[in-house]
């Protein structure tokens, strides 16, 4: 628990904000696999961190610790939503994309030519993205009773992936298979049937 509380979601959001065209909330992000200057797994640890926060909120009995965990969960989810919103404004044709690395990393997986200077050095980009979206779904499920608004923001952010899914066959095989399984318990199925998987409402805000 102390480790979770010690980590700062703002630093995880550093690369995600840069990709989205926002000023990062911190001077630097985390290093290790979250680094951007060498081979990396950017976003992977962040996704696990979100899942861990969501699960910890449910089991911790101390109110103050629970509040601190919820603060961090809010910062993480709202930060992702803010990055996703800004990316959608800047790249409306790719609305829904939110990641700590640029889309060019996915192009590479799909076999498209990517010049050396444009490479993101992400080893397994879909795997990293999956962790983020798993974290969003875990949050949606874990906090729905106590904080339905945050739960909704998390679900909307995850749902918006549908906007870019059509262009990436690999996404359908990996990410959506996970989401579809989660749908059975989270209500995603009914939402997808109602064509809500478009730009979420919180993304319809005009940029300042």
């Amino acid at each position: 628990m102390n480790y979770l509380l010690k980590l700062e979601p703002e630093r995880f959001l550093h690369e995600m904000y840069k990709v989205a065209g926002l000023e990062p909330p911190t001077e630097e992000g985390y290093q290790g696999w979250e680094r951007s200057d060498r081979v990396n797994f950017r976003g992977h640890f962040f996704g696990h961190y979100i899942s861990a926060l969501a699960q910890a909120v449910d089991v911790v009995s101390d109110c103050e610790t629970q509040r601190m965990l919820m603060d961090k969960l809010h910062i993480a989810i709202e930060g992702i939503a803010a990055a996703q919103t800004n990316y959608a404004i800047k790249h409306p044709e790719h609305c829904g994309y939110v990641s700590a690395f640029r889309e060019v990393a996915l192009d590479e997986v799909e076999g498209r030519d990517v010049s050396v200077d444009q490479k993101e050095n992400v080893l397994v980009p879909w795997y990293c993205l999956h962790k983020i979206f798993a974290g969003l779904i875990d949050t949606h499920e874990a906090v729905n009773d106590r904080d339905p608004v945050l739960s909704s923001v998390a679900l909307d952010a995850a749902s918006a992936t549908n906007c870019l899914a059509s262009g990436f066959p690999v996404l359908k095989k990996t990410l959506f298979s996970h989401l579809t399984m989660k749908c059975m318990t989270s209500g995603m199925a009914s939402i997808s049937q109602s064509n809500r998987l478009t730009l979420p409402t919180h993304q319809k805000v005009s940029p300042k």
Partner: protein, 134 residues
């Protein structure tokens, strides 16, 4: 509301403000009202909500600072909030159970924070929770 960015996150909550600003402390964003300043947000209320616990996040460095919380633009709801840390150094929380009449049969709730003669406390988070413990 934990992302105070003077951008989409805040405007997505219909930010209105006068004489307030955003900045960072220990990597966490906050908004604070300067003397006679204010800021407000609109929050949606999920259906069937019977009770809301408002949790505000402050930092102990602001001990003693005050601000007024006003709900739905109604001065009769005014409540003076004094930042009273229960820890020596760090972020902490104040909880307020909102009266049922403020939320029953309503889709939205507006929370406004007003400073008096002095600058208010830096607000690092506004949580609206449906259950206690949160």
């Amino acid at each position: 509301m934990f992302t105070f960015d003077n951008n989409n996150a805040e405007y997505g909550r219909q930010l209105a403000q006068d004489r307030s600003y955003v900045s960072l402390l220990h990597n966490r964003s906050f908004r604070v009202a300067n003397p006679h300043g204010m800021f407000s947000y609109l929050f949606s209320i999920p259906a069937d909500t019977e009770e809301i616990i408002l949790t505000l996040t402050f930092h102990s460095l602001d001990a003693g600072k005050q601000m007024i919380l006003r709900v739905n633009d109604d001065p009769k709801t005014d409540k003076t909030i004094t930042v009273e840390p229960y820890i020596k150094n760090g972020f902490f929380h104040h909880d307020y159970v909102l009266p049922k009449e403020w939320i029953t049969n309503k889709d939205m709730i507006k929370l406004m924070f007003l400073a008096g003669e002095q600058q208010g406390g830096r607000l690092f988070g506004i949580g609206l929770y449906r259950t206690l413990p949160i």
